[in-house]
């Protein structure tokens, strides 16, 4: 199968593999140790899957904001994203 029209590169492939792995890990984790939804500081009910979604979507906005304010590279933004994601999983 010729996939050259999709313009794959290692950085983008790595990005999607990371998201796929995160989804698979969360699914396995959810099966091994089911967690009840809880209400955090956003006062909304979240499951671990919801928290992953909030982390990823928020990270996208953090990276865009970083690009807008400081430009590339976005290594700094990635550190902020990790802190943000940890915060989401801990308190949201």
């Amino acid at each position: 199968m010729n996939l050259s029209w999709m313009a794959w590169t290692w950085p983008t492939a790595g990005f999607f593999i990371f998201i796929a792995l995160a989804l698979i890990t969360m699914t396995v984790w959810g099966i091994k140790a089911p967690q009840a939804p809880r209400v955090g500081i956003l006062r909304i009910e979240t499951t671990p899957g919801d928290r992953l979604f909030i982390s990823l979507l928020g990270s996208a906005f953090i990276c865009l904001a970083w690009l807008g304010m400081f430009g590339s590279p976005v290594y700094g933004a990635l550190i902020v994203c990790c802190i943000y994601a940890l915060g989401v999983f801990r308190w949201v």
Binding site: S4, W5, M6, A7, W8, T9, P11, T12, F16, R43, I44, E45, F53, L57, A60, F61, C63, L64, A65, L67, G68, G71, S72, P73, V74
Partner: protein, 289 residues
Amino acid sequence: MKTLNHKHGWAMVIPATIILSIVGVLPLLTVINYSFFDIFILDKRFWIGLEWYQELMQSPRFWASLGRSLLFSTLILTIQLPLGILIALAIPKRGIWVAICLMTMSVPLLIPWNVIPIIWLNYLRIDTGFLGQFFDFIGVDFDWKFNPIHTWLALILMDVWHWTSLVILLAYSSLSTIPTAYYQAAAIDRASRWQIFRYIELPKMSGILLMAILLRFMDSLMIYTEAFGINSGGPQNATLFLGIDLGEQIKAFDYGPSAARSVIYFIIILFIVWAFKTALDRQKSGGLK
């Protein structure tokens, strides 16, 4: 009806999942891939990393378009939602007029989008159109071509005409599910018309109204065909919305930046949909009280 609760029921959704991933996920992945390239034709593409995103985030034009699109969506929602509810309340509950009203209301929804700006530009002509003649009669020099406020007015009028019906149909459908016993109880309690609306009709409609807001918000935020048909984003970019910027870039074969734009629009829409879904869930569980 017998409900199937089989252990391997999930296997039945595999074909749908495969088709969805081909028509939905693959194009999305491709667009994200393209957004990191400078592409004119696929064979000649250059990896440039996050440059398009940086350019967009730092371009005043992008933020201005985003602001205009948000303003447009807010304006048409503040008009269409109350207007739609009011008209839905005025439609009779039974009898021959129900069908006539609903049929008439649906007509604007059935007209192809690219025809609508042409219809409205004809309405606004000063020599033949009824709106143009009306503005001439009341002494307003209505200049949709060069006066930004008038272009906005024309766009809002057009969108209200085109899409209020959607709100009406949704609101009416949920109004018609309210049992008459509720109204009888309200009449016994001598509830005023406002109280009936506030405590019976509005709570019953709220779920569907949130859907209506979501649909209208997403559609109007990405408005392209109608706005382009009226004034191509003019005068002097006063009606340059997100959709028009994107459309122009695609027409110019600027696939890299338009892909980056699409990804940014996608995550904005994703956030809005998530916010609405969360609000809807909270409301269902009674969290908003």
